[in-house]
Point group: C2
Chain length 493, copies 2
């Protein structure tokens, strides 16, 4: 794969001088079109040639319009980053629509280095690459085209460059000591990098291997390739928009669905309720403390029809927790910063650090519920969201989170009773809006969408828990018991 990048490609000074203005103008024009479109772009500059990467980044930044681009050179993760799933740091840097981000260092760095040094086996490495492939596909589909460069230097040229840098006090500091250590493993790095590139060069996010021997050749090639890639992305986006704006029909209700199987007559007397709440509240308090001490996190997501009792259930849970440990995130319409990022971005924002508890009152499942039903996501968008959400949750679980998702189930009749009660009780009126009534008219479609969701996203490490919520007391106690049970299991592992 790298042979083609060892042929000694170069551009002489004269040609460079001639070419640069043209290349720049085309690049700027593509950037301007990007800014006007609904796309963002992530540019990744990788490869073993540290100096070459910095020089390419310098060139791009001096040719692009500074108002639309940001760059990040990623070093070791900060402690805020280390306390969260590995991809959190990349989600933090994702550009909003209209803007571009250039990354030196990325999600490839750690797996490649770990594989070279034998800290990761082949199977895990391939799994990592598959995960990256999914991540990148999702970015591209979520309006963030990815342009990936791998700057290649042959072993002989690399050796020569390092020796030259070592002699020159002006540039010596530009590359770290690890460049020398890495060079000793040049062949192995080449091998692992080749396999990484092979596994992750996809139609939507292909690799561009650029020979890095000659600065002028490299910088021009990177700039022209980027221009072309941006133009391609803009065209693809236009074509896709034309094709995929269609909504799907409302999901049809199914007679025998998992939600209808629930026995909504379950209930607790006041007495049973008070006793159970006290007992399991104490149990929950103890478990949450142990979880904190074990440096693990707890993530709970609550979904269900309006007035199903999500708020009240969450309140009972949190009353049993140390207020220093939890945060409740109430999910409403996205802010404009959230709206210009991929839909999962706003939930990544709230991913807790180890040792903390986050409770989501409504969640990322909005994508396959309200956004699906109301046509806010296209068929293509919500259809792929199941897999994207499963991957998101897998990453949370891998980072040590105990993750549970609750569906609070009530009947349509009970909802009507609660709406009516809200309408007539002065201090509850603010809780009832016209939207609630609108949603209610699509009850069957919501229920069917919920069934699809439960079927497709209930996993071992992030199960859906269906709770009979016709009786609020029953729902609260069931929820609390379930959280306790899962915490006990996780802590005993």
């Amino acid at each position: 794969m790298f042979e083609a990048a060892e042929v000694g490609s170069r551009i002489d000074k004269e040609a460079y001088k001639r070419e640069v203005p043209k290349v720049r103008e085309a690049l700027l024009a593509a950037q301007r079109e990007l800014a006007a479109s609904g796309l963002a772009a992530a540019v990744h500059i990788g490869g073993g040639d540290e100096l070459g990467k910095v020089s390419a980044l310098n060139a791009l930044l001096s040719w692009l319009d500074a108002r639309g681009v940001e760059s990040f050179a990623l070093g070791p993760p900060t402690d805020e980053e280390r306390a969260r799933p590995r991809f959190w740091r990349y989600w933090r840097l994702l550009p909003p629509r209209g803007r571009m981000v250039i990354l030196l260092g990325s999600w490839y760095t750690a797996p490649i280095v770990d594989r070279v040094y034998g800290r990761m086996d082949d199977v895990t490495f391939e799994r990592e690459m598959r995960r990256i492939r999914d991540f990148e596909r999702m970015l591209v589909q979520e309006h963030v085209p990815l342009v990936k460069f791998w700057l290649h230097l042959s072993k002989a040229k690399q050796k020569k460059r390092l020796a030259k840098v070592k002699r020159d006090p002006q540039s010596r500091w530009l590359i770290g000591d690890e460049a020398w250590t890495y060079f000793k493993k040049y062949d192995r790095f080449r091998e692992v990098a080749e396999s990484a590139l092979r596994l992750t060069s996809t139609g939507v996010a292909p690799w561009h291997v650029v020979e890095s021997t000659n600065d002028r050749y490299r910088n021009l090639t990177v700039a022209t390739t980027l221009t072309r890639a941006l133009r391609d992305a803009l065209e693809v986006a236009k074509a896709t928009a034309a094709r995929s704006s269609r909504r799907a029909a409302l999901p049809k209700p199914r007679k025998f669905n998992v939600i209808r199987q629930l026995d909504l007559s379950r209930n607790l007397s006041d007495d049973e309720y008070e006793r159970a709440l006290t007992r399991h509240g104490a149990r929950l308090a103890r478990l949450v403390r142990q979880l904190h001490e074990a440096d693990r996190s707890l993530i709970l997501a609550f979904e269900g029809p309006d007035a199903a009792g999500k708020g009240g259930t969450i309140r009972r849970l949190t009353q049993a927790m140390d207020a220093r440990l939890y945060r409740v995130i109430s999910v409403a319409a996205p802010t404009d910063e959230e709206a210009v990022h991929p839909y999962l971005w706003r939930f990544w924002r709230y991913v807790p650090a180890h040792g903390a508890v986050r409770i989501f009152d409504r969640s990322w499942y909005g994508r396959v519920l309200v956004e699906r039903i109301e046509g806010l996501a296209t068929r293509e968008e919500w259809s792929r969201a199941y897999a994207e959400i499963n991957e998101f949750e897998a990453q949370l679980a891998e980072a040590g989170a105990v993750l549970l998702k609750f569906w609070l189930a009530i009947s349509a009749e009970e909802q009507l009773r609660r709406f009516t009660d809200r309408r007539t009780t002065p201090y509850k009126q603010y809780k009832l809006t016209e939207e609630d009534w609108r949603n209610r008219r699509k009850w069957d479609a919501y229920e069917a969408a919920a069934c699809d969701m439960i079927e497709r996203t209930s996993t071992d490490h992030a199960p859906w828990v269906l709770v009979e919520a016709e009786d609020k007391r029953w729902a609260r106690v069931q929820t609390m018991k379930t959280v306790c049970k899962h915490l006990e299991k996780a802590l005993s592992d």
Copy 2:
């Protein structure tokens, strides 16, 4: 001061049961009104009684509507926080309009502990308290009323509580070991806290000292006090809005002003320019590296009329820097998340970590330039901004930043020439907008506002540098030389 909170105030169970529903309803109503208003609120729960603080927080969170409130229990700063000015971590947590944040631990913690342990002398302590007073006044004026509680326990009660906690395995972990260490210095803590409260209890952000002996009394008192404080803030806001919405007249031009004193005929030949750029570029490259190695940061802000050449000047500077070290922040209209926070919030977001360079293409000075001229800030708002900005910059400088502000000066005739050039050169047309022409018609007012700004915000640690920019080459070289000069001075200190 604390004597009044040692009288043994308590509420019995029966009265508590009777009161809670009423207190809750009033609190919820105030929270709802806040959400509908343009105000945010920051609630601070301080005091030596760790258990009491957690219990008060738990009570508030269970009584408030979770959708409008967030809480943060601040531990030691993370490494991302330690790499920035001390207040950065608090700015991160400021609530947007309509929402409330409750803080356990705050800007008071470090100075009080440091003073008690003699790591801070009296003069510095008082200066810190004055700084806090300014910060809080600014928050309140920027629509973030502050409600400050100090939970007090007498020495005897504190001793009793600690002993009780020690015996009880269920609550022992709730307070850290430092609570015991601190208790040994109870008298000194009391003394220092009293002086802190005295120095920072102001009309806009008074302290509420609450006796913490009896849980029920404390929780009810905190809730009712908070309700009243929110209502007060809402009323003050209404009254202020009626009074201060008036704009000031446009600033009048002054014949002999500092900008007009500049000799705009200064220029460089192509040859001089190329030589100077090469020479000082190499110098700048070396200095920025040294700055990075010294773990200090560089912050440059660029202001000046449209078409003064800010972008080009910044580009020449960055070409001499390692792209891994700098970021250019182009300041345009605030996003909606930025717009619902105090105006400095969006600049605090971009405060660089130690070792990094941030260049602002337009800056926080928009407050006293375009926002003043266009009436986007009231007279009261932009008038106080000078002091607020000076304080902001003092904090940056204290954290080790080298901070420079450039005013690029051109004549009105030169601007017209550049506009015309942009209009007629195809690839420059996008740079010229109707807004540029609109601003141009207010040239004199902008110049006068700039003079006010320079006069009031040029300080030793954050000077304004006026650059004759009629000749772009002269401006670029002057800027580069000035940055070098200041870096050399800072690095030799």
